[in-house]
């Protein structure tokens, strides 16, 4: 059962881990169908599940928006009741933030980050699955409130003491639901942070990472530190609502600003959690279609990091109208204007990347350019919020609604749509139809500006937010009507997108490198095999895949490498790639000491975490994937065989999905004060975690009882959880 790799590399032994406690039979192999999805730990499948689930929530949240727009299309409309309207705007905001944009970013990050850094999976595959299932459970839990007495109705920001004193269970669903979603985000954040920090391919130094990976990393750090703050705020609300605590009871002497401080200390980093991954997407797409490297890569990365840091120092600009005093408001006003600087730097860098590029005006680029334009408008109206006197006028008006839809829809969603078109060929192996894609863009672009542009005017005319109807003498009728019409253009665009996905289901396969991409994810087949990389690539350059395909002429224009050049260059590259094995003085060379041996020519060796390494050696160019690699993840029996290398992937597991359900059980038990159910849920949770941690990450085919000597060695690079 054990293999011993040959000296001089240190020996490595695979002994089977102790036989786990099993209530359910461990799924083995990549089973197809529903069970395959439920038990999967493959980051790509999990990424797709995130994307699919979030898209469904996007449709629901969009439907809620349409209902509200119908209600507001004419004055004194009675299409919706005030109570329904409250539920709809609360759920629309909560859905779009927590159930759409965050999981869409999480899904893209899950799918792409390991591919972009040359890893076979994330650091903790089961934790990854757990994050998805908890997200799904949290979303379903929150939406179950519609059928159990009414959805949350106190706004997505849940201002206390309003949220602590509202009758009914509506806001209980909100606070418990967000708490569950926070657990999902936190586990995802830990996972992706460790993945990026620890699982980069040889040579993939931090400053060779694609900008999408960078921005995802920054966003995960923001999540890591922001989530506990909202968790505490929600716990305080829970204790107030359920156990009579006084945290937000003004009569007991509490400070009503406590909630606002805690919420916005989470909420403003959250804004950057929502926008940074989309910025990363755009930073991938614009260079690809301008056929130029990203202008000012380091500055792009550093401005992203700067946004991440400064995002913690601006939260009180959400509270200018609450009377913080002149010193605090001045300080936060200044920091708010400051944070526009790194954002502006990014915009100029995108424009400079496009400047004199050989532009291919595809759908992804259209959405990316739309992102830059719309986000600039949203950013500028954001700067006006930083001016305290102006903000005092704008607070709680439609001007604010216009602003954050320009940054979150015109920004994040445009960026994510761009990403969907860009990576669709990678997800499915098929292109989305370009004509329909452009129609989608045109409808969305027109509809978006029709819907949210007039809200600037309405806001300046004094129309407050969160009102379910308005009298007609205020002069708000016309622009509200235009806005409602525009929202249907957006809906039409979404329908075109759905039609496009269905229509191209059976279209011919496109190549592996659909857009002539620059980064590692395009160097492997589309859709990627479970193990991603047959050979873990060795990276010698930023935009490594581009570097392998192209060289430069005297004027810096890309020239395709000819086969002759390629073979010559491959030799040169191999020397380079071999040199990567030595620390390159980059300050963060990822080469793990002692892991890479002295045999620099065998770059392919680096694949061989748990396999017979020597069989896996290729020319180090990464071109020979699929050759001689048997894809056989679970068959430890074959380890001893010398002739073919094996790539061991972590085994599927039911425990993440099973465990995640416990959170909903606990929450229902607590909301309805059926303590026995809550306790059962706690036992369920604990049992799930125990079963999970006693289960080895990779299931042996036949567990052999030699526990005392088990080394519990994980075959896939670092994949344990």
């Amino acid at each position: 059962m054990a293999i011993v790799t040959e000296p001089p590399r240190p020996r490595q032994v695979l002994a089977p881990p102790p036989a786990p406690v099993r209530l359910l039979r461990r799924p083995t192999g990549y089973s197809k169908g529903l069970w395959g999805w439920i038990s999967t730990v493959d980051h790509k499948k999990i990424g797709l599940m995130y994307l699919g689930t979030a898209f469904v929530f996007f449709l629901i949240g969009g439907l809620e928006a349409l209902l509200m727009r119908i209600q507001l299309g004419s004055p004194e409309n009675s299409f919706l009741s005030a109570e329904t309207y409250n539920q709809l705007f609360t759920m629309h905001g909560t859905t779009m933030v927590f159930l759409v944009i965050m999981p869409l970013s999480a899904g893209l990050g899950n799918y792409l980050v390991p591919l972009q850094i040359g890893a076979r999976d994330v650091a903790f595959p089961r934790l990854n699955a757990f994050g998805f299932w908890v997200f799904l459970v949290g979303g379903l839990f929150m939406y179950s409130s519609f059928f159990l007495g009414g959805a949350p109705n106190g706004g997505w920001f849940g201002y206390a003491p309003l949220s602590t004193t509202m009758p009914g269970h509506n806001m209980d669903y909100w606070s418990f639901g967000l708490q569950i979603l926070g657990i999902a985000s936190l586990s995802g954040a830990v996972n992706l942070i460790v993945t990026v920090i620890n699982m980069r391919a040889p040579g993939m130094s931090l400053f060779r990472m694609p900008v999408f990976t960078w921005m995802t990393l920054v966003a995960q750090f923001l999540l890591l530190f922001a989530m506990p703050v909202i968790a505490v705020a929600l716990f305080l609300v829970m204790f107030d609502r359920m156990f009579g605590a006084n945290f937000f009871d003004v009569q007991a002497g509490s400070d009503p600003l406590l909630w606002q401080h805690l919420f916005w200390l989470f909420g403003h980093p959250e804004v950057y959690i929502l926008i940074l991954p989309a910025m990363g997407v755009v930073s991938e797409i614009i260079p690809t279609f301008a056929r130029k490297p990203l202008f000012g890569y380091q500055v792009m990365v550093f401005s992203g990091i700067a946004i991440g840091f400064m995002g913690w120092g601006v939260w009180a600009h959400h509270m200018f109208a609450s009377g913080l005093g002149p010193v605090a408001t001045s300080a936060f006003s200044a920091s708010t204007m400051f944070i526009a600087v790194p954002t502006g730097v990014k915009i100029f860098n995108w424009l400079s990347t496009l400047w004199r590029g050989k532009i291919r005006l595809t759908t992804p680029l259209l959405f990316a350019v739309g992102f830059v334009a719309m986000f600039t408008i949203g950013g500028l109206s954001g700067v006006t919020h930083g001016v305290v006197p102006a903000d005092t006028q704008q607070t709680d008006t439609y001007y604010v609604v216009a602003h954050f839809h320009y940054v979150l829809f015109g920004g994040s969603m445009f960026g994510l749509f761009a990403g969907a078109y860009y990576w669709w060929p990678m997800f499915t192996g098929r292109m989305l139809d370009e004509k329909l894609g452009k129609l989608h863009f045109v409808l969305t672009f027109i509809g978006f500006n029709m819907t949210f542009g007039p809200m600037h005017i309405l806001g300046l005319q004094g129309m407050p937010r969160r009102i379910y109807t308005y009298p007609s003498q205020r002069g708000w009728d016309f622009w509200n009507f235009i806005s409602t019409v525009g929202s249907f253009f957006i809906a039409a665009g979404v329908l075109v997108f759905i039609y496009n996905m269905i229509k191209t289901r059976r279209s011919p396969k496109c190549g592996d490198d659909a857009w002539d991409g620059r980064t590692l994810e395009w160097s492997i087949p589309s859709p990627p095999p479970e193990y991603n990389f047959a050979e873990i690539p060795t990276v010698v350059a930023r935009d490594d895949f581009w570097h392998r395909k192209y060289t430069e002429d005297d004027e810096g224009r890309p020239v395709v490498r000819t086969p002759a050049e390629t073979s010559a260059d491959v030799d040169a590259d191999n020397a380079l790639r071999a040199a990567v094995d030595e620390p390159d003085g980059d300050g963060d060379d990822p080469a793990a000491e002692g892991s890479q041996g002295a045999d620099g020519e065998a770059a392919g060796d680096l694949t061989a975490d748990a396999t017979d390494a020597d069989g896996a050696v290729t020319d180090g160019d990464g071109a020979g994937h699929d050759e001689g690699v048997e894809h056989d993840e679970h068959d430890d029996e074959h380890d001893d065989e010398e002739h073919e290398p094996h790539i061991h992937m972590p085994s599927p597991s039911y425990w993440p999905a099973v465990t995640s359900v416990a959170f909903a059980v606990i929450a229902y038990g607590m909301i309805y004060r059926v303590w026995i159910v809550a306790i059962l849920g706690g036992v369920w949770l604990l049992g799930g975690f125990y079963a999970w941690s006693l289960e080895p990450a990779t299931a042996p085919e036949e567990p052999e009882p030699e526990p005392e000597h088990s080394t519990d060695l994980e075959p896939v690079a670092g994949s344990r959880d």
Binding site: L186, A189, F225, A592
Partner: protein, 207 residues
């Protein structure tokens, strides 16, 4: 691959655990634990800030900290918790030496010291409750019970992990090659202790 093992499962002392190479050389679990602890800092930071915000702001003529606190009692239980950090270090040192008998002794001791702290806290809560301090009494009651309760829940979780390790070790399933598991639980345990030093100072000692 820093691990050198043979099929017999013996290990070299310098090899911390069976880990494939990572970009930093640190194991994924350790990086993850540090990230998680960073997140926990913000959790307790928010809770402690809430407590500090509401210090001395309770409605007049309601129960005050001076009415209920028994500083000598809490000092003793704090000392018990701090000593458990010492035994945790001894447990880690023992497993790194491969001294499994002492591993079990120190893991169990650490767990029991932690459990004594939790038991002491439960007793303290009961006494306070009898003396009239409830979560609903005033701002002090709310912020006291929630802050110290969250810490107690963290200690309880740590005790569970320690006892699980102890039971794994009893069944021979905690070989020296997995000493990093002990180290990670230790990181968590020390974090919880350090947080208690802050909480004890802020909640009990600052007048």
């Amino acid at each position: 691959m820093t691990v050198t093992t043979t099929s017999e499962g013996t290990h070299t002392e310098e090899a911390p655990a069976g880990h494939p190479p990572t970009s930093t050389g640190l194991s994924n679990e350790k990086v993850a634990m540090w990230a998680f602890l960073g997140s926990e800092c913000l959790l307790f930071g928010a809770l402690i800030s809430t407590y500090l915000l509401y210090r001395g702001r309770s409605a007049p003529n309601t129960i005050t900290p001076e009415d209920v606190y028994d500083i000598p009692y809490t000092s003793v239980s704090s000392f018990v918790l701090l000593m458990s950090s010492l035994t945790m270090v001894l447990a880690l040192a023992a497993i790194q030496r491969g001294d499994h008998r002492r591993v079990r002794i120190w893991l169990l001791t650490t767990g029991l010291l932690g459990a004594s702290f939790v038991a002491g806290q439960m007793y303290e809560f009961t006494v306070f409750y009898r003396e009239g301090l409830k979560i609903s009494s005033n701002l002090f009651g709310s912020s006291f019970f929630v802050l110290t309760g969250f810490h107690g829940a963290h200690v309880t979780l740590g005790v569970l992990m320690l006892l699980s390790l102890w039971s794994l070790s009893l069944r021979g399933k905690l070989p020296a090659s997995r000493s990093e598991t002990v180290e990670l639980v230790g990181l968590y345990w020390h974090f919880v202790d350090i947080v208690w030093i802050v909480i004890f100072t802020v909640v009990y000692l600052i007048p």
